[in-house]
Amino acid sequence: MTGKGGTGKTTVAAALALALAAGGRRTLLVEVEGRQGVAQLFGTPPLPYEERRITAAAGGGEVRVLAIDAEEALLEYLEMFYRLGAAGRALRRLGAIDFATTIAPGLRDVLLTGKVKEATTRTSGGHRVYDAVVVDAPPTGRIGRFLNVTAETAKLAKVGPIKTQSDGVQALLRSPMTAVHVVTLLEEMPVQETVDAIDELTRLRIPVGHVIVNEAQTPLVAAGKVSQAELRRGLTAAGLPTDKATVTGLYAEVKNHLTRQELEDSLRGDLTELGRPVLELPLLSAGVDRDGLDVLAAALLAAPTP
């Protein structure tokens, strides 16, 4: 799940994890940017680097969450291949781990996406542990670089475990098992960034899924023809005040709304032209809470799959 900053991609990622867990399934919601957005969304203390259940989904499913920390992932990785033990902990005290994840551009991303791959392909008793893994990914401006790890690391590591690791990740990310969904609002800049990101992902041959319009409002068409005289009659019929301030104020609000609606319609047109399935999630008038996530999850489930 990507999207311009501020479009609600963490919210939509959580809703998708809930939707895909419905009916007794298990999903993993992964956070990669260390923002603790999932913890904030669910109102929990900061999440550690471990997979833990965060909520139940409809029909007995469960959503687990993993906040990946690049340093922890590197230690885990080194432990797995080199059995560092106490030396690994000493390295952390030296600041060496932070250093290592910073020196090689892309190493951080390889570790993050590598962990995603490990969780996605992990099996237990012959079955995949997770029915789906939803990644709250970096925003549109950085998504191409984040997912295109091979190109970045190949420049630096031409052989060795890092190279092998990034090749494996790359194969998974370009396979039909992956879909990158782009969250947007019906505003000019998020839509422009959506168009740019889809263009970039397509060039990188990374599969693009849905364009998800967040916070969409139901068009109120009848208001389009309203006049001030008609508003006054309507307000009278509703038993509301009909003073000049009320009538002109409401009229101005309707006009602004229509201007906004025209802009939104034209942006909807731009999104449709992308030739990707577009789905709209309703604006939650009470703000995003746990019930609101269920509303969004239901809307995602109701959408036709591409």
């Binding site: 630096l156 800049m189 023809k225 019929a237 301030a245 709304h257 906004r260």
Partner: protein
């Protein structure tokens, strides 16, 4: 300024910062014109999380400083939306400030704009610190190529670097800076120091010591675990990478220290009273939370926080009609099957009134934690802004809410 007061506190105590208190927020009102017209203010930094309109705010403030306050102004943008960039006459990444057409003619003020080219800025830093032959060697190193365009933090560092060099040129009365769309707003403050530390490279030298000494660590006191680490890095990253890295470090060797020194200099400029930080947000939970992080952090770093700009604030023109009353009336009209247009108008009003209430509650959270931080709200525009006239409107909206 007594040493017992932080610059932040002194800034807040400056009498002109305490405007009249608006009734609903209990924070002083931010007077942007006072900042833009103050000859003592030479840098305005707009910071905040992604998607809150930082670039637009920066451009609008710079335009206003040029046109209304006669200041020779330059706006440094990082990643502007295409159409906004075009409206400023910026068509490509170009590290030179370009005059914005149609601004400040016949007055003392002028407006230049530039878009940061991260790689070119890095190249310029290298060129000014070393001879052409060595520079060519550095530019050819694959490690430099990767790092100058993808290193996390390079953009932040280079923004600071460019700010430092524009400031040193002295051609400008006022520099308005837009900050990079970082992972977290705090990266803007942390990344330059991190990159400075990296390039300063004590750890880098330690790591490369064995490679330089033909595989044997020359650091007798280095802990055993570091030796393990170095071997692991060789194994994991491969010998080729270490050779490239080693070459990179050797070439940059003469520049070490310079980086850290420059990062520290810029940091000091940001702490000086000639700088005004404006935290930009929208009245949404995430953006306000980031704004609060930023305000806290600026306080800790003793950087002068001038105020909070809340963009895209919704308000109703009929405050006497509540959301609930409005919705109930719309439902009654719909039940009666009449006056559909009025019912829709009432729904539009109800949604707007509810949104305005919610936004007020979110913003009040910031005001409660930072009662002394001056704040200004900018009304949401029905359409997006992407021309000079639009920026003028935003500029006056920030100044006269």
């Amino acid at each position: 300024m007594g040493s017992t007061f932080s610059p932040l506190l002194c800034w807040l105590l400056r009498p002109h910062k305490l405007g009249h208190v608006s009734s609903d927020q209990h924070s002083p009102r931010l007077d942007v014109d006072r900042i833009l017209s103050d000859p003592g203010v030479r840098i305005v930094v707009c910071c905040g999380s992604g998607g809150v309109g930082k670039t637009t705010t920066a451009a609008a403030l710079a335009l206003r400083a040029a046109e209304q306050h006669g200041r020779r102004t330059v706006v440094l943008t990082i990643d502007p939306a295409r159409r906004l960039a075009q409206s400023l006459g910026l068509t490509e990444l170009d590290n030179t400030p370009r005059p914005v057409k149609g601004v400040g003619e016949g007055s003392d003020g002028s407006l230049h704009a530039m878009m940061l080219d991260m790689k070119r800025t890095f190249d310029e830093v290298v060129l000014t610190h070393t001879d052409p032959a060595k520079a060519a060697e550095i530019f050819a190193n694959p490690f430099y190529q990767a790092m100058s365009s993808t290193f996390s933090g390079t953009q932040e560092y280079m923004a600071m670097e460019k700010l430092g060099s524009l400031h040193a040129q002295g051609d400008w009365d006022l520099i308005v800076v837009d900050t990079p769309p970082s992972r977290s707003a705090l990266d803007f403050l942390d990344a330059p120091a991190r990159l400075g530390r990296f390039l300063d490279g004590r750890m880098l030298r330690l790591l490369l010591a064995p490679a330089r000494a033909g595989g044997r660590s020359v650091f007798g006191l280095v802990t055993a675990s570091f030796g393990v680490f170095s071997r692991v890095v060789q194994k994991v990253l491969g010998a080729q990478l270490l050779t490239d890295l080693s070459g990179f470090v050797a070439a940059l060797d003469s520049m070490f220290g310079g980086f850290r020194q420059r990062a520290e200099q810029t940091f000091q400029i940001l702490q000086a009273p000639e700088t005004a930080f404006l935290v930009v947000a929208t009245p949404e939970k995430d953006a306000i939370r980031e704004a609060a992080y930023f305000a806290r952090r600026l306080g800790e770093e003793r950087m002068p926080l001038a105020g909070l700009v809340v963009n895209r604030v919704h308000g109703t023109q009929v405050p006497q009609l509540s959301a609930d009353t409005s919705l109930a009336a719309a439902a009654a009209l719909a039940d009666a099957g009449e006056q559909a247009p009025t019912a829709d108008a009432l729904r539009i009003h109800a949604a707007l009134a509810a949104l305005a209430d919610r936004e007020r509650a979110v913003t009040a959270g910031f005001a409660a934690e930072f009662p002394n931080v001056a704040t200004v709200s900018v009304a949401a525009q029905p359409a997006d802004v992407h021309d000079i006239d639009g920026l003028r409107l935003i500029g006056s909206a920030i100044s006269q809410p």
